[in-house]
């Protein structure tokens, strides 16, 4: 019998240990993962394209627009023409310019508020989930109450009393919409907290805030991103709604504001479709783009939801009998 070299037995199954790569490598891999996610899944790609479009318009649009959105002119309620692509308002302002400027306001205030809400809900959710006990109980109570109070009526009441303007609206929306995401993150944190890598980190003497933000939080990023997207959709809609009610600053152009003035001027009854249809369309499209991203993220996170694509060549070579 021949002597043979046989590889040494491999070690036992590896124990889970926290990532040890330096921060920039991890960040880079996260960014790469995001890019791959954005382009791999169709829904996410489409959604990102839409949102990206609006961001670009918001950034650069106002530089390319012919008129000042607040500039009045003698041309009242004119239908779309070469000079005014979307016609004019009742005081002769160019609607197209308003729409472009409005894009900047709506998109950026929307995203900024969304960011704020996300930060707040992450803080509350993670702290409540990690610490448990009285901290958790009280935070949960606050969260639940905030969840159960109807957002829009509360927002209306608050906005009615405080000085008009985007800052008020932003604050009001933050107050009324942080709770949902906080609750989701709390339950996720609760389940992660009992995992072994957290125990290991504690045993190593890692400081609490480091554990929360560098061990637990990275595992929840997909949830946070999905939450950010959902919240932003809600924020954009709520913002438009509040503006539409006249609770915003009427002088700053925004999509909801355009609709407010349209309603005030009786655009509906007057059949001035070019006034009230474009802003709504923008809101709907941006919302749809964000919703697509969200559903795409759902699909990435839960493979069961992914569309079942037919497998190509393998089928052709199979036997005739194929059953499940």
């Amino acid at each position: 019998m021949q002597t043979q070299e046989v590889p040494r037995p491999t070690s036992a199954a590896p124990i889970a240990h926290p990532p040890s790569n330096p921060l920039h490598t991890r960040l880079l891999s996260i960014l790469l993962a995001i890019w791959r996610a954005m382009t791999l899944n169709r829904k996410v790609a489409a959604g990102c394209a839409i949102v990206g479009f609006f961001i670009v318009v918001g950034l650069f649009g106002p530089f390319l627009v012919p008129y000042n959105p607040n500039a009045t002119s003698p041309l009242f309620i004119a239908p779309p023409s070469a000079a005014h692509w979307l016609g004019t308002t009742v005081v002769g302002e160019d609607i197209f310019s308003q729409l472009i400027y409005g894009t900047r306001t709506s998109v950026f205030w929307g995203l900024a508020t969304g960011l704020l809400v996300t930060v707040l809900s992450v803080l509350v959710g993670l702290v409540a989930g990690y610490f448990g006990g009285l901290t958790d109980d009280s935070l949960t109570l606050v969260t639940n109450v905030s969840l159960v109070l109807p957002a829009l009526p509360l927002a209306i009441v608050l906005a009615a009393y405080f000085p008009r303007g985007p800052l008020t609206i932003s604050m009001v929306i933050v107050i009324t919409s942080w709770a949902w995401q906080a609750r989701v993150l709390r339950s996720q944190t609760l389940s992660l907290r009992s995992r072994e890598f957290v125990t290991a980190a504690r045993a190593c003497g890692e400081r609490t805030w480091r554990i929360i933000f560098f061990e637990i939080f990275p595992n929840e990023i997909s949830l946070v991103v999905a939450g950010f997207v959902s919240t932003t959709i809600f924020i954009i809609l709520a913002w438009a709604a509040l503006e539409f009610l006249g609770l915003g600053d009427g002088t700053i152009p925004s999509w909801g504001g355009i609709l407010y003035w349209a309603q005030q001027a009786g655009a509906l009854g007057g059949g001035l479709w070019w006034w009230f249809i474009p802003p709504g369309l923008c809101i709907a499209t941006l919302g749809a783009g964000l919703a697509l991203i969200n559903f795409g993220i759902d699909e990435i996170a839960d493979p069961r939801l992914r569309p079942e694509r037919p497998v190509k060549a393998a089928n052709a070579r199979r036997n005739s009998k194929q059953t499940t």
């Binding site: 957002a151 829009l152 209306i156 009441v157 509906l268 709907a284 919703a291 939801l305 079942e308």
Partner: protein
């Protein structure tokens, strides 16, 4: 049982928070709302000293009572159903006006919610069951898009298309007030339906997508559970598996979601009523905001909140009924 009691206590607490918020907001707002208000009202007519008194009283600015005394007076007033007098319709008490309007809102909202929830769940079940086939591939993306359309814009659009352009439905109102008197008659009922159809349809369409998509995703997850596989292994009929095993479990997230969604639904209804000038409390709120009728605003907020809390509570109880696992004391 303990779970039920805890929920009841929670809702009582939430009501208290809402009431307290309602009390404090006007007192915390910057500036002097009374002066601004008086100034505004003076342009419309003479402001009597009584009206000024009411305003000040409303904001708690004319009494020398300490804050907590005001608070208890406020609570006492609430318990008696006294929300103060409306400013727009001075001196009519707010409750009287709300009482007229709330019936319309409940009817519109109730019908719309029931239809959209039921229809949404059924569509969701079908889409998940026939996943990947035509129904699903067409419906799901369509619903995706639909779910992002703002309520009020959908209302504007449908109002424009169906009322203005096509003239199929009236532009505003709850019934044909010019020709028909309210009462238990077919004419009245018919008129009510005609006026309510468009806003109801808008509400249903706007909220349908949410239910359907959540149900679909929940169903898809449930269909991959072992007990569904076992049901199949048992040789049970497709229908039984779909409803009794899969849907019955998959609907649970929708019911919890219902509780949360009610807030959104109510918001949506407010906006829809405003657009359609439908005589519900949404429209009343709109007018109150426009006219800065603070008493109205506060009262309507409270009423809406109480209604939402009530609906939430009902949804909670329904969930307990449907999911036996909740009835047991759960360890953390």
């Amino acid at each position: 049982m303990r779970h039920v009691i805890r929920r009841i206590l929670f809702y009582i607490f939430a009501v208290w928070v809402a009431i307290t918020i309602d009390f404090f907001i006007p007192r915390l707002a910057p500036g002097d709302p009374v002066a601004a208000l008086v100034g505004k009202m003076s342009t419309k007519g003479y402001v009597t000293p009584e009206m000024q008194q009411t305003l000040s009283a409303m904001f708690g600015l004319n009494t020398n009572d300490p804050l907590w005394v005001q608070y208890f007076k406020y609570l006492g007033n609430l318990l008696h159903g006294n929300f103060g007098n409306s400013i727009q319709y001075f001196p009519t008490p707010v409750m009287k006006i709300i009482g007229q309007d709330i019936g319309w809102s409940i009817m519109l909202g109730g019908v719309a919610v029931i239809i959209s929830f039921t229809l949404g769940c059924l569509l969701g079940i079908l889409a998940a069951w026939k996943r990947g086939k035509t129904l699903d591939t067409v419906l799901s993306p369509a619903m995706n898009f639909l779910s992002a359309i703002p309520y009020f814009w959908l209302s504007l659009l449908s109002l424009y298309i169906f009322s203005y352009l096509l003239n199929w439905f009236p532009l505003s109102g709850g019934y044909d007030s010019a020709n028909i008197d309210p009462g238990w008659s077919f004419e009245f009922a018919g008129s009510v339906i005609q006026y309510a159809f468009l806003p109801a349809m808008t509400l249903v369409i706007a909220s349908l997508a949410g239910w359907m998509l959540t149900m679909r995703n929940s169903m898809i997850t449930t269909l991959s559970e072992d007990y569904v596989l076992m049901a199949k292994a048992k040789g049970l009929s497709q229908r039984r598996i779909m409803f009794r095993y899969a849907a019955r479990n998959a609907v649970l997230p929708n019911i919890t979601g219902f509780a949360i969604a009610i807030g959104v639904i109510v918001g949506g209804q407010l906006l829809t009523e405003m657009v359609f000038s439908y005589p519900g409390i949404g429209y009343a709120l709109f007018q109150a905001v426009n006219q800065q009728d603070y008493a109205m605003i506060q009262a309507i907020f409270l009423i809406i909140t109480l209604a939402v809390l009530g609906a939430n509570f009902l949804a909670d109880m329904l969930y307990v009924f449907l999911d036996p696992r909740v009835r047991v004391e759960r360890s953390a």
